[in-house]
Amino acid sequence: MSEAAVKEAKKYTAKDFQSGQDVRWCPGCGDYSILAQTQRVFPDLGIEKKDIVWVSGIGCSSRFPYYMDTYGLHGIHGRAAVIASGLKMARPELSVWVATGDGDLLSIGGNHFIHVCRRNVDIKILLFNNQIYGLTKGQYSPTSEFGKITKSTPWGSIDYPFNPVALALGAECTFVARSLDRNAKHLQSMIKAAAEHTGTAFIEIYQNCNVFNDGAFFHLTEKGQKEENVVFLEHGKPLVFGANSDKGIKLDGFTPKVVNIENGEFSKNDLLVHDENKNDDVLAYILSSMTYDPNLPTPIGIFKKANKPTYDAEMNKQIQKAIEKRGEGDLDKLLHKGETWVVK
């Protein structure tokens, strides 16, 4: 994009991205913040409004496109990632975004998710992970914790939750991050980083559903708790956390351990230093494995960022190559291809 175009696009403000439709989420829902941060950060992306499309599935979160004053397609349950893929292949110049929920993306839509990661289609996926099915009124989801009591599991669920970051890594997603609905600044920076990445960008956003799963992430978002429970991943920096930045993560073999860096035993220099650009995924895996460990803080930030040609670019390259090689298709010639004969 030329600088002029960037400037031109910069004319927008957050308000320009408000569609004017009534927002129909429950009062207090974490979705509001995700919407607000998106609207706040989009003017900075340097993308013309007309070139942005939001695609979604079905769920509370999937109503997102209605509220963005961009093009939008509210699809069917679980299929957003592949609808978006088709769109991006057809129109590689568009900026294609997916809003989805933990049920939509990881339950019914799990297959499309892992395939879009594998293919590295250049779309951005925002997972609104509230660890519950909101729109259908509170059944457990594939990210709900084991033993969860919900309408469909009155005796407690017996499924182990997915770790969406690990799943995305296993499917070789090229950009994997995690953020929090209630950390406006961090969320904004993740959305921006996703926009800047070329390839499939996946952000897991922990989102509070205050009606059916209130407080699921309060330990990560509320003052007095979050400081001890969150470690922010910053490229090139050691993993420090704690209210007084007094703790850090150190590797013991492959195993991350919490150490104190204030009492003299260890220092910052002993800590694991984050590198989001590692070309193997091992560090990202190690970090992702901390997710459900009650003895470790939850990593928030970019786990992995890798460069790889995208599916949509390759598809369009192949077409260019074919045209170069064979000339732009001539319909008459095509019809008359192969063995023909003339009847007089």
Binding site: S19, Q21, E48, K49, K50, D51, I52, V55, I58, P65, Y66, D69, T70, Y71, G72, L73, H74, G75, I76, R79, V82, I83, A84, S85, G86, L87, K88, M89, A90, R91, E93, L94, N111, H112, H115, M315, Q318, I319, K321, A322, I323, K325, R326, G327, E328, G329, D330, L331, D332, L334, L335, H336, K337, G338, E339, T340, W341, V342, V343, K344
Partner: protein
């Protein structure tokens, strides 16, 4: 044909039409043999029709009856509509091929059997206690046991090829013999061999030799005393090409893309017998055709919807089980009113069923197989080359009416071939595809007065951002609406839009008298068999009329009138009476069905008998 040796005197007889059935193991190359014979006959100027019939296994165990792969070709100097009810010549590479196909050979028909294939093991596998080539049980036929394998091996002796490779050439020997017998040009096959094995000169040599050895064998042996000549058919003048239904369909879509100026986007997941549509289209990248092999059928169709949303002509092609999976997404396409063509190449069912066999039993699914009221347009191709025309037509309607269109074909015409009178690209009517770009008073669900189509606005258009989706839409604005009256209105609009397509399609044509004792209504691939049966019945002096439907939803507007002018209506279908049901419900006519669900097309004779019965009774 340079190096032919002097031959014993042979006579030449002229025939109007001939049916040959090539049969052997899945690995014997019978499909290839059949295809080569087809090309050669087409180039010889005959009309023709083919029927490849093979098992679902890639290479079923050698010698078994269920492993037999067959290819039947019917060619002649008159118009040929079917692959033939019975065959005149059966080429049987082994006992199983004989066992399975003998019942289709006419009385006194010719059997060419590969003697080396009739080993004790193979005889046993086919369930023969004695060798039928020797026990006199085939006296009713013109039996020719030929040492096909041995003669092939002799011809290739000095090439020092492995025995497996040599054995694989035997089908070319058989082909050569048939070329001799029916006076076919061998050049097209020689060309084919050359280009196919261009990196393997030894295989060019081997196959060429085998082919010629077969040809010469006919010339020199004394077994065969007669050659046959089949004059060119009086076809419409023009340039022809031999084509299968799937290849024709792919071309029809490319043509529609060119004629509409829309890029073509195919989302597909492989499935028999639809995969060739994917294979064909994925070659045409220089036509800007995008093909996406998705993770499953749902991904295939929803990606196509995404592409249509972006302004492409989105299409998807599948068969029964895949079709079932797509239906939820078809509902979305109905709701968001975007162009989309869904091709269903039907096969035997239910469930996985008989994947390589033909059937017409997805009509219900096409018309009714979705949740709630989700009407769309349903078309059906009649012959292999008609797949071109109907793919083009399906695209035209989809674009003009902003609607999904289901195009039905089936395994029989998808894999079967016929000569196709090539259209010129210029003669094809342009398809108007306009993206709406004027933001003034823009309403995503405003409707064209005539077609009721909504405007197509694609992302990237300035100042027209809007949202579409599967929740009920408010009239005009397209906002979400749960309002009762609005819902009724939109349900009616969607239905009415499809109804109005009837104003835009040709009237049904009655082949035969406009009133009478018996009207036959057919659809899809039964066209050839019904046409033949009707022709034969007419020759016998019966008054039978015939309407073939390519447009099934909506029906042509004049269909009702036509029906009421006949005493009896017969609807032959390769299902348990699906079109029948639709016709009866709509027109309340006491039509009756003639139904066969055997994984096979109709025989003209079966239909003829049924017609006789009805006109008698």
């Amino acid at each position: 044909m340079d190096n032919t040796t002097p031959t014993p005197e042979k006579k030449t007889e002229t025939l109007n039409e001939v049916v040959i059935h090539f049969a052997g193991d899945s690995g014997d190359g019978m499909q290839l043999t059949g295809t080569q014979f087809t090309t050669s006959s087409a180039i010889a100027g005959n009309d023709l029709n083919t029927f490849p019939d093979f098992p679902a296994e890639i290479r079923a165990p050698a010698g078994t009856t269920y492993g037999v792969s067959g290819f039947q070709i019917h060619f002649g100097s008159r118009k040929i509509h079917t692959p033939g009810d019975t065959c005149d010549v059966l080429v049987a590479m082994n006992p199983a091929a004989l066992r399975v196909n003998l019942k289709h050979l006419r009385d006194r028909g010719i059997i060419i059997a590969n003697n080396q294939g009739f080993t004790p093991k193979n005889l046993k596998l086919a369930g023969y206690e004695k060798n039928p080539l020797e026990d006199g049980s085939l006296n009713n036929y013109q039996l020719h046991g030929v040492d096909i394998s041995k003669l092939t091996a002799n011809a290739l002796e000095d090439l020092n090829l492995g025995s497996k490779i040599v054995d694989r050439c035997k089908n070319f020997f058989a082909l050569g013999l048939m070329f001799w017998m029916y006076n076919r040009p061998i050049e097209p096959t020689l060309e084919w061999i050359k280009s196919k094995f261009k990196d393997k000169p030894e295989l060019i040599e081997a196959n060429t030799r085998a082919l010629k050895a077969g040809l010469h064998y006919g010339d020199i042996t004394e077994i065969f005393t007669t050659r046959y000549e089949i004059q060119p058919a009086k076809l419409k003048p023009g340039t022809y090409r031999n084509i299968t239904g799937n290849a024709a369909m792919a071309l029809g879509f490319v043509a529609a893309s060119r004629k509409s100026g829309l890029e073509l986007y195919l989302g597909a997941y492989p499935i028999t017998p639809a995969s060739d549509v994917l294979h064909e289209l994925s070659q045409y990248k220089n036509f800007k055709v995008k093909t996406f092999q998705a993770e499953d059928e749902i991904g295939a169709i929803t990606a196509a919807i995404g592409a249509s949303y972006g302004g492409s002509l989105g299409i998807t092609a599948t068969s029964g089980p895949g079709m079932a999976l797509k239906m939820e997404a078809v509902g979305l396409a109905v709701m968001i009113e975007l162009p989309l063509v869904i091709a269903d190449i039907q096969r035997g069912g239910p469930s996985t069923g008989l994947p390589t066999k033909t059937e017409q039993a997805d009509l219900f699914q096409a018309i009714y197989g979705r949740n709630s009221e989700a009407p769309l347009c349903v078309l059906a191709a009649a012959t292999p080359s008609d797949c071109f025309q109907m793919a083009f037509e399906a695209s035209r309607i989809a674009i003009k009416y902003m609607t999904p269109v289901i195009l039905l074909s089936d395994g029989y015409i998808a894999n079967g071939a016929e000569p196709w009178l090539l259209p010129n690209a210029d003669e094809l009517k342009p398809i108007e595809a306009k993206f709406h770009t004027d933001p003034e008073n823009f309403m995503p669900y405003a409707r064209d007065e005539k077609t009721l189509a909504r405007p197509w606005v694609i992302p990237g258009t300035p100042d027209m951002a809007h949202r579409v989706g599967g929740l009920e839409k408010e009239d005009k604005t397209g906002d979400i609406s749960y309002d009762p009256e609005n819902h009724q209105k939109m349900v009616n609009y969607r239905a009415e839009k499809i109804e109005r397509i009837a104003d835009d399609i040709p009237d049904a044509v009655v082949d035969g008298d406009k009133e009478g004792d018996l009207l036959i209504i057919g659809w899809g691939s039964t066209y050839g068999a019904i046409t033949s049966a009707v022709e034969r019945s007419r020759k016998k002096g019966k008054s039978v009329s015939y309407v073939h439907l390519r447009y099934i939803n909506p029906f042509p507007k004049n269909l009702g009138e036509i029906l009421y002018n006949f005493k009896k209506i017969l609807v032959p279908e390769l299902n348990k009476g699906q079109l029948l049901n639709v016709l009866r419900a709509k027109y309340l006519v006491p039509a009756i069905g003639y139904n066969k669900v055997q994984g096979l097309p109709f025989k003209a004779a079966e239909l003829e008998t049924k017609i006789d019965e009805l006109l008698r009774g």
